[in-house]
């Protein structure tokens, strides 16, 4: 069943990267691992693992504090990572790159620091039906705290945003639009550049949840012209507990601090405190220094491969996955947007996703099962959960053949 696949030179470069990921060189339940759960968390290449270990072995001290050599080295490593990340997303300045614990913290920061002081009864926050819980719950909380209203733009049966409906919800009372770049459950790639332009034409600032965007495509925050862009390290081949909030400097400057503590102050006395400049105002306490070093190494790794190459390779894989999965009898694909990333939710016959997950794991194939932290999406499609296969740059055609063979085996067991 395996076809001969003609690859361009660019695609071959990415295909060769699989060897960079030590976790993919192992057997699970007696089979070479097929890792199709990168939308939940991606594996790390050796350069990331080594960068973290080297930092911890040789350069660790606290940052921005000491005059001694290790403190200098740690500060250089930490700030060097920030500069790499600035370049990676093409932000204008490192003052716009706030290092956080991940997308969730980045979004909560904007909800509490940008929105909360500005919201009151009569105001609205606009989100969409395909958001991850991390881009729903922080807005529900801030709406409860302020009396503001949460609006939800609808999707269609392919899992695409209904753009006309979204634009018609962009009324005069909307204070922020928060929207996913790529849906984690459905794979839909939203036309965020156009959406930002429409929102800005109505004076609505936009936050993009880019957790599923940055690992798979080139992201240029100045080209998108978004006001905030949030993403996580562990979805882009970096360590867990790391992430970024990009924000336009003028907006970040006007926002109050989100957390209080050391490193976010210039001067503290009991009569008052002068806050530090950007981005340190939002980074209270000793940060996750080694994590930032690892995240910077991941961004450098992706720059070396080239995000255009990654995108091209993953499109090839994704098309093949859709083609192979659609050919399975009794499969129901959930999320069939015209413009889609390498994420596919599905149901197979009447086999519960949880059972599928166990049977596939038995054959060395790792997929995610359940609601994918997107219960409103599951409700829309009338299912309690789905099975989901998600691709990253290190996957290949053989992985997809193994997935399909494992699904056929599951059908046999449940026949």
């Amino acid at each position: 069943m395996t076809q001969a696949h003609q690859l361009t030179e660019a695609q071959s470069i990415v295909a060769a990267c699989r060897a960079d990921f030590p976790a993919l060189d192992q057997e699970v339940n007696g089979y070479p691992i097929v890792y199709l759960d990168s939308a939940a968390s991606a594996q790390q290449p050796s350069v990331v693992i080594d960068a973290i270990a080297n930092y911890e072995r040789h350069d660790h001290a606290n940052v921005h504090r000491g005059v001694h050599t290790l403190s200098h080295r740690a500060t250089d490593a930490y700030e060097g990572a920030r500069e790499t990340l600035r370049r990676f997303i093409n932000a204008a300045s490192t003052r716009e790159v706030v290092l956080t614990s991940g997308t969730t913290e980045s979004i909560n920061l904007v909800a509490q620091s940008f929105c909360r002081p500005a919201l009151g009864p009569g105001d609205q926050v606009l989100i969409t039906h395909l958001e991850h819980h991390a881009n729903i719950v922080p807005w529900q909380l801030v709406c409860e705290q302020t009396g503001a209203e949460l609006l939800v733009a609808p999707i269609n049966e392919r899992g695409e945003l209904e753009l006309d409906a979204l634009y018609s919800l962009m009324g005069a009372s909307v204070r922020l639009l928060a929207i996913a770049h790529v849906s984690n459950a459905l794979g839909t790639i939203n036309p965020v550049r156009d959406i930002v332009a429409e929102a800005h034409a109505r004076d609505i600032p936009v936050l993009i949840d880019g957790a599923q965007g940055v690992p798979h495509m080139r992201v240029d925050v100045r080209d998108l012209d978004c006001d905030f862009y949030a993403f996580s390290g562990h979805k882009m081949f970096g360590p867990t507990g790391t992430g970024v909030l990009y924000g336009k400097e003028a907006l970040l400057d006007a926002m109050p601090p989100y957390k209080g503590g050391g490193d976010m102050i210039l001067e503290v006395s009991f009569s008052g405190t002068t806050f530090n400049e950007l981005p340190y105002k939002f980074e209270a306490g000793t940060p996750n220094i080694s994590g930032a070093v690892g995240l910077g190494a991941a961004a450098t790794y992706l720059e070396t491969i080239g995000m255009e190459n990654v995108e091209s390779w993953e499109r090839e894989l994704s098309d093949y996955m859709t083609q192979r999965l659609s050919a399975i009898e009794d499969i129901r694909l959930i999320g069939t947007a015209a413009h889609k990333a390498g994420v596919q939710s599905f149901l197979l016959g009447d086999i519960h996703p949880h059972d599928l997950g166990t049977i596939l794991d038995h054959q060395g194939v790792a997929i995610r099962t359940g609601h994918h932290c997107a219960m409103p999406v599951m409700d829309y499609f009338g299912v309690p959960g789905t099975a989901r296969a998600s691709l990253a740059l290190y996957n290949n055609f053989d992985d997809i053949d193994r997935l399909v063979a494992a699904l056929e085996k599951a059908k046999e067991i449940f026949a």
Partner: protein, 158 residues
């Protein structure tokens, strides 16, 4: 192709025919006309939800039992086996089955055997080798305990 060389014997141990049969054709599925005790079971990990209905007489004997909800083969199969088992039992005997099933799934059955003979509930034994699935098998049993204790809060597997 890799499928042909698959060792599925231990998968068959998880999905034994009796469990699969109960999952596909659940017994006592639906509501009861008369319910004295009821409880919901929720597995927050996967979102599985089921509700167990019991009809106890004045002597605390379970006259009838039924369940409804959706879930994986293990949770539905286990719930179906549960209802088949507890009808006609006193509530204390039903609780003895609860203890015995949980002990079986934890792999720490008491020396000298359980107070009760698990009978066809032994079909659930294969689940204990799949730690991530034990909660699926215990969901209905936690609901049984909650129902018998007249506990109004939903039972969870957490």
């Amino acid at each position: 192709m890799i499928g042909s060389s698959l060792q599925t014997d231990d998968l068959r141990d998880l999905y034994r025919d009796l469990v699969l049969d109960h999952a596909r054709n659940p017994r006592h599925f639906g509501k009861l006309e008369h319910t004295t005790h009821s409880a919901q079971g929720i597995n927050p990990l996967c979102g599985d939800k089921l509700r167990l209905y019991l009809d106890l007489d004045a002597d605390e004997t379970i006259r009838d039992a039924a369940f409804e909800g959706s879930g994986c083969a293990i949770s539905v199969g286990s719930a179906s086996l549960l209802t088949d088992t507890v009808i006609g039992l006193s509530s204390s005997d039903a609780m003895a089955f609860f203890d015995a099933v949980l002990a079986q799934l934890a792999g720490n059955e008491p020396q000298g055997g359980n107070r009760v003979d698990l009978g066809k509930l032994r079909a659930l034994a294969g689940v204990r080798d799949y730690p991530s699935r034990v909660k699926c098998a215990t969901l209905a049993w936690h609901a049984l305990r909650s129902a018998l204790q007249q506990d109004m809060a939903p039972a969870t597997t957490e």
